[in-house]
Amino acid sequence: MFEAISERLSRSLGKLRRGARLSEENIGDALREVRRALLEADVALPVTREFLDRVRARAVGQEVLKSLTPGQALVGVVHDELVRLMAAEHGGLALNVPPPAPLLVAGLQGSGKTTTCAKLARWLGERHGRKALLASCDVYRPAAIEQLRVLAAEVDAPFFETGERAPVEIARAAVAEARRRFVDFVILDTAGRLHVDDEMMREASAIHAAVSPVETLFVADAMTGQDAVNVARAFDEALPLTGVVLTKADGDARGGAALSVRWVTGKPVKFLGTGEKLDGLEAFHPDRIASRILGMGDVLTLIEEAERKVDRDKAEKLARKMGAGKRFDLEDLRDQVRQMRGMGGVRSVMERLPGMAQLPSGAMDRVDEREFVRTEAVINSMTPHERRQPQVIRGSRKRRIAAGSGTTIQDVNRVLKQADQMQKMMRRMRRKGGLSQMMGGVDPDGLPDLLSGMPPGAVGPGAAGPGRAARRGGKRRRFS
């Protein structure tokens, strides 16, 4: 998400960034481009308009024209305004509240409320050690309650048995149940409702009034178009919202809805829902997203992701092994591949690196995640001996491995070559004692901090991959 708008904006602002002189004309051109980029990203029209007005006012004002590098200053203004539009700081959930604290989740049909409820329960448990009772007030959609029951079991959260109650009663009874069971939170899922359905909107207010939730989250689909303003306004009027969860943010939607919803409700986007797996919930950091939109990369999230997902023990083991001058073998390659996939794949890592928006458009689309699956399959089909001593793999072994992994001999060769290159790279790294020379193509200024903050395994071949890829663009097979 956000990469297309980011590509657009950095292209239109890039000219200004380079050429130092600003005129009314080129500001106008750049702003027209910005308008187009925002609209194509589904930022609602009134939001786009106000945004541009503010940028224009500041652009012709003292702070930009008087600055030594007006182009740079304009980029700064756009960045500022984007951040402002998305709220300056990210608001986590209100956690210091007397239990049982009700948490109400509402939104349109199909926006992803039920999945979000389960993700929230897991997030509360995993990150904060809090237990949440899940309860469904959706008595309308067939099997909605059953769906939450299944998900509750998956995230190991208690589930409130609805019985034959009306929605408001369910909410009340769930809170009472949570009190009895000494549970910290009650997450209340509600039926999807259309914002123009007065009766259903009244029901939502009634549920809210009955339990006075500490958090009332509006769930919005990241793919929503211009209608986001209408929907958000109606929900904001019916319910005292405290925040927004933007779901399906792992797709290629440009996410303008995030800006629209935030603008209408004035409430912060608190989480991004990414993927159907129940750990796919990311805290939302507006400043980082603004940087991502402007092509400055979102390395902070990347680091956090790496710290959470990368297996430190394995990374350290690898670092020790390399340090001791041992070979980088296929077991190591497999670990790397798995970790890369664990972080959401190359795409997701690349998206967050600075400078990625300058890639030719479509380069990201050509990243083939399946390559990783194939690589892992090939390695899985080897014997432990072969993984440690790849040089023993000759003709007949190659045939067996290819057959065993459902790939071709060329695929096997490619994996072997990859491991070999990795091995050479490791050796070079040890000699030169650093990584920065391998990261050509990526703005080196942004990297030292990033690298020092990451566990050794993640900055090894895994993180170097996208850098090299960025430099070599479409030439590599993986990108073709």
């Binding site: 187009r36 609209l39 194509e40 990203a41 589904d42 609602a44 029209l45 009134p46 349109l108 049909q109 199909g110 926006s111 992803g112 309308y140 959609r141 067939p142 099997a143 909605a144 059953e146 769906q147 939450l148 029951r149 299944v150 998900l151 998956e154 259309l194 914002h195 123009v196 689909d221 793919m223 929503t224 178009g225 211009q226 209608d227 986001a228 303003v229 209408n230 929907v231 306004r233 399906k248 792992d250 797709g251 290629d252 939607a253 440009r254 303008g256 809805a257 159907e276 083939d368 995640e369 399946r370 699956v373």
Partner: protein, 326 residues
């Protein structure tokens, strides 16, 4: 495709008519407060008016490219003094847009039940939360009303309780649902379902699939496999691959249509959730680029709320200014 039933037979009849009336009233009110005002007779045509047209188009998710093109066309005609006043502009605009959609407003041709030797297979695909299962429930109802015997295939083996949800719709329609356990291979479920439907000499098989983001290549491959295995039983199957699109979706809708078409050769569109304030303007871009026939629109949660797509009605609803978006 069987026509929408003229006379709903159940007790919900008043409810449906009532809802339709409300919806129409809403449209009329919007028209009178928005466009009618804007295009009132005698209002001078100037740049401001054209700007407002652009706003309406952009606000309906028509997209920058298309809005620009339409506006340029209006400017052009204005210069040549072809447009006399407000109503003339509105008419020109409306015509332009209806024309763009008329070519793709084609319903799905299903032979009458007696003429069907093998089940007519409808494969339903789309991203998460667009309303695939609900659309299937309504579609099954339409087929039943048209005298077809229907079997449903629970091909969404991934999402929690998706199978239960489809079974509820099966029960409501009185049609069998072929399902396996959660987590089963969707291709296998759909394959078995087609066999079973053939054995029962059912007229129509409607296969549900799990919602998937079009960016997930692995899942898109899985869908292609579902399509492939159907072809193994009947080379002509699926006879219809229906992509369900949420009208609330913005410009991403075009990309969805593109990717699903690449993966499973989409042959028809169903646009859901048009009973809200979303206008579904992205359909213009889809019609232009991919020319996929638009089959149905979903206008509510009731079993009868699936209608044939009519270009003129759609455009009229779109041009009714959405509330609060000005």
């Amino acid at each position: 495709m069987p026509p929408a039933p003229d006379r709903p037979t159940d007790a919900r009849r008043a409810g449906i008519l009532g809802r339709l009336r409300t919806a129409l009233r809403r449209t009329r009110e919007n028209l009178s407060s928005g466009l009618a005002d804007l295009f009132s007779r005698g209002r001078k045509i100037d740049a401001a008016l054209i700007d407002e047209v652009e706003e309406i188009l952009l606000g309906a998710d028509v997209g920058v490219d298309l809005a620009d093109r339409i506006v340029a066309d209006l400017h052009d005609r204005l210069k040549r003094r072809r447009l006399a006043d407000g109503p003339a502009v509105l008419e020109a605009l409306r015509e332009h847009m209806v024309q763009a959609l008329e070519a793709v407003a084609r319903s799905c041709e299903v032979p009458p039940p007696a003429a069907l030797e093998r089940p007519f297979v409808v494969l339903v695909v789309g991203v998460n939360g667009v309303g695939k299962t609900t659309t299937i429930g309504k579609l099954a109802h339409r087929f039943r009303e048209g005298g077809y015997s229907v079997v449903l295939a629970a091909g969404d083996t991934f999402r929690a309780a998706a199978i239960d949800q489809l079974q509820v719709w099966g029960k409501r329609n009185g049609v069998p649902v072929i399902a396996q356990q959660p987590g089963a291979d969707p291709a296998a479920v759909v394959f078995d379902a087609l066999r079973s439907a053939t054995a029962r000499s059912a007229n129509v098989l409607i296969a549900d699939t799990a919602g998937r983001l079009h960016t997930r290549t692995g899942l898109m491959d899985e869908l292609a496999k579902v399509r492939r295995v159907l072809g193994r039983i009947d080379p002509a199957a699926p006879h219809e691959t229906l992509l369900v699109l949420d009208a609330t979706t913005g410009q991403n809708g075009l990309i969805q249509a593109r990717r699903f078409t690449e993966a499973v050769r989409v042959s028809g569109l169903a646009v859901t959730k048009l009973d809200g304030t979303a206008r579904g303007g992205v359909l213009f871009a889809i019609a232009r680029e991919l020319a996929i026939p638009i089959r149905y629109i979903g206008v509510g949660e009731g079993i009868e709320d699936l209608r044939d797509f009519v270009a003129a009605d759609f455009v009229d609803a779109l041009l009714a200014r959405p509330p609060g978006n000005g």
